[in-house]
Symmetry: C2
Subunit: 220 residues, 2 copies
């Protein structure tokens, strides 16, 4: 979605995007911008910071209260203040006019790539050696073999993956698993670790999770 008041630039951008297999929508009603954005729910917004009737930064700030749709700010002036503000208000990137079309496309591609995790269910793959772990469905894939993890195993494995090569304390894991519930046996964690290890063993990862006695566990 293009939010920009100069018709000429709008059309240019539109063509550029459509020539590159994006679907472009131009926001018409600046006064009703927020509603229109949420209605259309675009995959990405190109937002000019200087448009009549509305303050681009304020719009971004309001949008961020309701949505994480990626936003690339387009600024006329290469002002560091604008840049700083855009980023702190939640823009995903910014570019200054006049822009180089190729760079704009690269930036759009880069933003979409790094935000797609939030927009595409299949973007949840974490990689561990030869394994791919779909942290949404809790499925570990090794070539053609697939292993399903239970919810607890998923939580533990995700946590370890996200802290690869770092020691993770038992307490951290306890909190992550049972944060807000009543007391559970300390041993419940040990058992769940054991179960996870067994599943990893099935696909040849025998010592993936190492115990550091007195400290915690480490995935390496």
């Amino acid at each position: 979605m293009i939010i920009e008041d100069e018709k000429l630039i709008c059309n240019e951008l539109s063509k550029l995007l459509e020539n590159n297999n994006y679907e472009a929508v131009i926001l018409k009603d600046f006064k009703n911008a927020l509603n229109e954005i949420l209605e259309v729910s675009p995959d990405l917004i190109l937002l000019d910071i200087n448009i009549p009737f509305i303050n681009g930064e304020a719009l971004l700030q309001n949008l961020r209260k309701e949505s994480n749709i990626p936003v690339i700010m387009v600024t006329s002036i290469n002002s560091e203040t604008d840049e700083a503000l855009s980023i702190s208000y939640g823009a995903d990137d910014y570019i200054t006019k006049p822009y180089n079309p190729n760079i704009l496309l690269l930036r759009i591609g880069a933003v979409l790539k790094r935000t797609k995790t939030n927009y595409n269910t299949n973007g949840n793959e974490l990689i561990y050696k030869e394994l791919k772990f779909d942290s949404q469905k809790g499925i570990i894939k090794k070539e053609d073999i697939e292993i399903e993890l239970t919810k607890n195993e998923m939580i533990i494995f995700s946590y370890l993956l996200n802290h690869q090569n770092k020691i993770v304390t038992r307490e951290e894991l306890m909190t992550t698993l049972w944060d807000n519930s009543e007391y559970v046996n300390e041993n419940a964690l040990t058992v769940n670790i054991s179960r996870l290890r067994n599943k990893l063993k099935e696909i040849g990862y025998v010592d993936a999770i190492d115990t550091r006695k007195g400290l915690g566990y480490i995935l390496s």
Copy 2:
């Protein structure tokens, strides 16, 4: 982690970061960069593109084969070619020297914020109106109330959330749920949707998931 050959800049950066509650590590052995990075497993890398013994772009390219650690490229020349290359090789952002310390900090903050989904188990929160959904643990929070979703409900709700305001076909959901398994009753989806709706109803979201007969479902 700072990857930079000018000692002076290294120290400046180090101080700046530590004054702002980051932990800074300076890469020493440029020839063994990739191993050292993976060993240290930093939360973010500041990578100068022009360092001796190694080509910054090549390093980034190699790093990206093994890890998604966020990288901010630091370039001396404001060359559009560099910029374009960095982004296409997988840098998360870039900044040109001489940099404004405040902007560098903002950019670091922004990159960490948007990438933390992959690095921090608590970064998996999706927002839907007044609800927060932890898509990792499958917990929906509304103020102080919490509701737990089962694995199937999690998958459906995540998918709908990621396609908010868009019609999602039953087939899409079937594939997402049972992609690689044997045949399941068409009705199994209906039942799971029904269960999810009931849980949403418990916290006051009665018509959150709307049926578009013949087309699919829409979360709005």
